[in-house]
Each structure stands twice: as structure tokens, then as C-alpha cells.
Symmetry: C2
Subunit: 314 residues, 2 copies
């Protein structure tokens, strides 16, 4: 999946080959898509976002991502001067201009830049919308995907719900970056974070799943309500695999038959080791592998797909 597939159409433009963004009301090459250092979206991380992927010429679960993006903005009391339909069209135009068949597509709203002397009240600022499309890249290298990822359980705790609501998609990655350093220091691929009570939450950019006695289990709180996770739940139903969203302790994760992760940026990712414990035959387990395979096969069949008309648009 590392080869970049592009589309030839009269709307694609070489200047956008590395990615196309929409910022300040204009389409720009990705290198020019930036945020002022005075925007609270940067200097207070007062920002929300969502990422949807495009696969073989169509968005995957676009409406789910738009709906979650709107819920996130409402949670932060942000508004933008675009409807969901308009945002969908802006994002589609970013994909068209970049001529991408497979892409990551981001939608972002920042709190905005205060006027000089304005009281420090978030409700006074004018929020700003940014969108962009980038060529699809495997976040997890192919060889890691094939051997199964190696995880550690981080000592760093996930930022608690009482401080920052994890269901509002946010850029507060300080804890996740610390946890990633823990993984890197131990030669692992990535990390899983626990809450203060020792329950599994999520990792840097992904939801976590354990396969226990034939059932797939994912934590009920402290984690993003992942849309890939939602897909995993639907696939479990389809495959008659019991699916449970409930508290999951660190010990259960260590003792699980299989562990896997899920994210928009890569889909279902089987794991082979956690904290040095070897799962199965030190390779992706059967249920994880089956879910991964069906996840991508369903993509090929057009599941939850919004096709892109590459020649339409302004």
C-alpha cells in the first residue's frame, strides 16, 4: 500500500501533488497550509479535528467523520461558516486538486487569533476552518504489519476525562508522545496507556482491542469513540464474533489471546507482543488477521463509500 495511486483528471494540478489544503478561504499547496503562532489552536492547542480516509477513489464513512467533527466543535463551543455539505465539498476539492485515489483528509477548526487587547475569553474569538488532503502513507511499516506490532504498557497515564474529554478529538498528545518515547526506548513499536485506575484507554492515535475467549473487547471509556472501532464492531457482528465494549484491565490485555489496534490511518493492526509477552506464535493472531482482511475486502466492495467525481467541481 506504499505506492501512491493518483488519478488523471482535468482537475488535478501538479502544484498540489504533495497534498492540497484549504486555509483562509483559499486552496493552497500543502507546504503553505499553516497556522499563525498567535492562533489559540497552536498556542493553547484549542482546536479540534477529524481525519477521514479516501480509498480507491471514495471517502470511507465520510458522514460519520463529519458528524463527529460537528460534535467535537459543539463540545468546544466552536462554529464555522460552512455546512457539513460545504465541508464535504471543500475536502473533495482538495482530493481532486491533489489527484489522489488514496488519501488522508483532515478537517480542523482552531479557536482563532485574538485581536490586540481583546480579553482572554475563548467565546470572543472567530474560529477558523482548515482542510487538507495528503497522499495515503502507511503509518505502520509493512514489515511491522506482517510480523505484528510490538507494544508496551506505558508508565505515562492517559490525560483523564476530568481534564480533557477524549471523545472530542484533540491534539493533546503530550502523554502519548511520552508513551511513544517509552516504547522507542524499549525497542517496541508503540504503547498503550492506562488511566489512573489501571484500565486500558488507547495508544498514540489508535483504539485498542483484546481477544479474550473468542470475544473482541475494547475499553468503554478514556478513549476516542473511534470510527474504525465502529467498523470493527460491525465486522464482528457480520462474522458472528462477540463484541464487548467494557472496562479492560492491563492484566486482561497481557493475558489476552490476541491484541490488535485500529485507526483511520491504517485500519486494523494486529499485534504480536505486549510488554515482552509473546502472543500465539509471535505473529498476528487468527481473529485479528481475519478482521484486518475483511476490513479491506469490504473497502473493495464499496462498503460505506462516497465515490469522488474527479472531473466535477468549480
Amino acid at each position: 500500500m506504499n505506492e501512491i495511486r493518483t488519478i488523471t483528471s482535468n482537475r488535478a494540478d501538479e502544484r498540489y501533488a504533495a497534498g492540497c489544503g484549504f486555509v483562509g478561504g483559499e486552496y493552497r499547496p500543502i507546504a503553505e497550509v499553516s497556522v499563525s503562532v498567535l492562533d489559540w489552536g497552536f498556542n493553547k492547542s484549542d482546536v479540534t479535528y477529524d481525519v477521514v480516509h479516501v480509498w480507491q477513489g471514495g471517502f470511507f464513512r465520510l458522514q460519520d467523520h463529519l458528524d463527529r467533527f460537528w460534535r467535537s466543535m459543539e463540545g468546544l463551543r466552536m462554529t464555522i461558516p460552512h455546512s457539513k455539505e460545504e465541508v464535504a465539498e471543500i475536502l473533495t476539492e482538495c482530493v481532486r486538486k491533489a489527484g489522489l485515489q488514496d488519501a488522508y483528509v483532515a478537517m480542523i477548526t482552531t479557536r482563532g487569533v485574538p485581536l490586540p487587547g481583546m480579553p482572554r475569553k475563548p467565546g470572543l474569538l472567530t474560529n477558523r476552518f482548515i482542510g487538507y488532503a495528503l497522499p495515503w502513507m502507511d503509518v505502520i511499516a509493512q514489515d511491522v504489519q506482517e510480523r505484528g506490532a510490538h507494544l508496551v504498557i506505558a508508565k505515562t497515564q492517559r490525560i483523564p476525562i476530568a481534564s480533557v474529554d477524549p471523545t472530542i478529538k484533540n491534539y493533546h498528545w503530550g502523554d502519548l508522545i511520552r508513551a511513544q518515547f517509552e516504547a522507542d526506548d524499549q525497542g517496541a513499536d508503540t504503547a498503550v496507556l492506562l488511566d489512573a485506575e489501571g484500565y486500558v484507554t488507547e495508544g498514540p492515535g489508535f483504539n485498542v482491542f483484546a481477544v479474550i475467549d473468542g470475544a473482541v473487547v475494547s475499553p468503554d471509556k478514556g478513549a476516542l469513540e473511534g470510527i474504525t472501532r465502529k467498523s470493527v464492531g460491525e465486522l464482528c457482528d457480520l462474522l458472528d464474533i462477540p463484541y464487548q465494549v467494557r472496562p479492560l484491565s492491563a492484566q486482561e490485555l497481557l493475558d489476552a489471546d490476541e491484541v490488535f489496534t485500529a485507526t483511520t490511518a491504517g485500519g486494523v493492526m494486529p499485534c504480536a507482543r505486549i510488554d515482552g509477552r509473546i502472543k500465539g506464535n509471535d505473529r498476528p493472531g487468527p481473529i485479528s488477521s481475519r478482521l484486518k482482511e475483511v476490513y479491506w475486502r469490504k473497502h473493495d466492495e464499496g462498503w460505506h463509500k462516497t465515490p469522488i467525481d474527479y472531473d466535477a467541481g468549480a
Copy 2:
């Protein structure tokens, strides 16, 4: 203090009147100082910073801010290709170009922009330095300063030390913004956040102090090691006021004789109300007011001052 005092020198430049920044190795007008949406400093808030102020033509405690900025970078395993002396010179040049006698001056290091296809490992990225100087503005309006700020104790908890180290200056303001909305909804000026055990930590951008039985008390953990707070401690010594850094409960704050805050962006700020409780005569208390007065008088005397030569430089 709302009037902007500027310096006439052969180094000031009209293009930088609204502020001057240094980004990508070049000096630019503040409107052009921005961060790529692909920089982890934005999209993972993987960034540290410091802010020093310039008052009447000189930096205040510049070395303290540079030392803390370096400790923050070390804590996040970041490096930049500049020495402390070089950063000091870059920041000085920003102030010169903007021609500012009173300014906020920021130094920022972001994790950087990953190359396409690079593994998601923070240690692989090239970190980026940004600096900028802005005209001094009162963060708290003069009328609020005179009547004394109205605080609330927020329901939102401060992000805990186990997740993000508050002594590494960071842009994880999600909890602080939520708390500010709580204050705004109640018609107060700002908020104080507690930790999970109910102890006082800090507020949006400031340290918190209680005056109890003639002593000044500030929390020992869960808060930034503020440099204005350090100044408050030194002023207490000077004025023979007992100064204690220790756990401070919410109840002690409510029952305190006086409450005040301290920040680089404004200095010592007396408070008049907290959660509707009225302190003293609903106005700044005597010890808070004395500390505020001496804080600025010491500035006039050149305390901890690094004067700027406005005509020097490249």
C-alpha cells in the same frame, strides 16, 4: 500600561510594528510567523515555549527564562541549532526590529514536520525554533486590575503530572480553556483548577497565591515553576513576609485573607472574589497590593534587567 511605548532607532522597521518573528531562519512580520499544519508542534501539541517580558527597554529575568526553556526542551528531548546566547540575540533582534520598549517575547521549539513515510517516532524529527516579540498588552484589563479579579474554582481538573509534566511549559490548555468557559459562564474573570485530590494547582496562564495569617502560600506541585512566582518569593523575603510553597487546599483558598495570581503577562494580580466569596472590602488586599506595587517599582530600579542596545545588531 495600555499605551504602546516604542523606540526610535535606526534598527526599527515599520513592517514589524505589529510584532516581529524569527521562523525558518528569517525575520518576518508577525502576520507571517506560522507553523505548518503537519508540524507535530501543531497537530500533536508536541512543543515547548517560554515567554519573557521586556520593560522600559530591557528584558526581565532573561537568563531565568532561557534556563527554563532549555530544561523544557531537555525534558521533551528536543534540540535546536542555537546556543542560549544566540537565542537571546535573535529575541533581542526581534524587539529591535519591532522598536518596542515594552514587549512580550516568546521562544518556541516544535517537534517538526516528519518526512513522508517516516516512522511515527518523535526522536527522528528535526526540531524547529521560532521566536517573536509583540507589543506589551495588559492581559487583564485595567479596570479588573483595580477592582480585583473575580475567580471561580473550576470543576474541570488540571491535567495531572502523571500525564503531562506541568514544569515543562506546554500548550496543553484544553483543561484551562474549559475552566475559563466555566468562569465566563458565571460572570467571573478567570478560574483556578484543582488536582484530583482537591488541591489548588494553577489557572489559565498564572500561578495562584493565598495570604493566610500574614504568610503568602503557593502550591508546591501541579503548577508551572513560574518565574514571576520566583520574583514574588524574593519580594516576600525583601519585605519580611513569610513565604511558603506547600500543598494548598481549595478550602484554604476560599478561607484565605487575600488571593492573588502572578504571570509574566501582567505580573502580580490581586483578586477580590473567589466563588462568590468577597475578600476584605471587595477590593485588592493590602499584602497583594503591596507586592504588586513593589514588583513594578523594582522594575523601574532595573531589578533583574538586561538592557537592550536598540542600535546594535546585524
